[in-house]
Symmetry: C2
Subunit: 216 residues, 2 copies
Amino acid sequence: MADDLDPRDFTSDDDGKRPLTRIQKVNRGKILEAALDVFSAHGFRGATLDQIAAEAGLSKPNVLYYFPSKEAIHAALLEGLLDIWLAPLRAIDPAGEPREEIMRYMRRKLEMSREMPRESRLFANEVLQGAPRMGAGLSTDLKTLVDEKAKVIEGWIAEGRLAPVDPHHLIFSIWALTQHYADFDTQVRAVLGPGKDPIEGAAPFLDMLFARLLKP
Amino acid sequence: MADDLDPRDFTSDDDGKRPLTRIQKVNRGKILEAALDVFSAHGFRGATLDQIAAEAGLSKPNVLYYFPSKEAIHAALLEGLLDIWLAPLRAIDPAGEPREEIMRYMRRKLEMSREMPRESRLFANEVLQGAPRMGAGLSTDLKTLVDEKAKVIEGWIAEGRLAPVDPHHLIFSIWALTQHYADFDTQVRAVLGPGKDPIEGAAPFLDMLFARLLKP
DNA sequence: GTCTAGTTTGACCGAACGGTCAGACTCACG
DNA sequence: CGTGAGTCTGACCGTTCGGTCAAACTAGAC
């Protein structure tokens, strides 16, 4: 599927502008793919290099040949994912139709819970434990972006084009309701029983929820 | 292994047939309190017995004297908490006023996110990683309870006393929206900035959200 | 005070972990 | 073909972890 990561991003941390060989591209990709699987399923501390190496089909020293440490693999995953994760929020257009923009954001986030559940769980694991390896980005980049979009939403409300809701909590509610289906997938499936796609039922429910919430 | 002098009597549960000494009561309490702190903050794998022992003010062998293993401490926490966690859902009264019952459930869950965030994160950590130490209870007890309450809600909808929403996803939405403030506390506080109580702002927002969602 | 069941601990163990290293192997290119 | 940069690995290291054990200590009923 289309969840391969671009390995180019991770060579630029040091000054070396060396071009990547074919083998480097392939193996870094294999490592990051395996690491996403393992980190998202067991958390940082619960994941082992041997597990990652085995799943990537490489030896442990070979994994350490491409990344200097377990931390570095985790950091590479987080960094590479943050932009993807926030892109739909960035895409909210102040010039667009308010309810349309917010509904689109919510639907895109729900899609991402279906298509990228491992990435969602990776972040969830990190935030749950106090974001010890991400702290900086949360208070700066994330807050800046959310505050900016909150201002946009406030403007819409002032114009009477949206119901008067707290914009920050509105954004939180979108995160909570969509990511829940990725992060708590085990619980949701246990309750719904087998053979049902949880997100299929979630989509119309969330559509109705936000339609009713946002109508002025 | 002869376990004739093994003090593994888990008398803190309903099954108690042997009396606990005063010291046992105190020390088991200290261990469970410390373990809740450590497990909720670092996950099962990320927590260490030394950490728990240090926080409980006991030596590691002494901790192992009261609980046979790290797993057993974790299991004791989960088991003791499951009932508390689901009590508000159980309390939904089929004979009550539908919107009142659901709003009360939501508000109680939000209160629990404020007052018992560690417990919320303990469950979140467990479910996030596929509930490897809880699997049974999810598919049986939890599903049974949720299905039962979903039937109640469906009845209310059929009577026209609630908007027609999927009852299972309604319950999921309550879980997601309330537990988000405990589980993702770090993120929420990073976005809102310091000096604000997130749940104070969440309460009126969620009141409005569910009021609008449930109105027939 | 005596005795015993209950409690506590320092020392220790094997396994698992993240990481290192010297050297062997492979690939691309002249 | 030869060659050097790039790739790979078995063996190994120091640390940390969960857990054990014998022995020492304590509480409290008699």
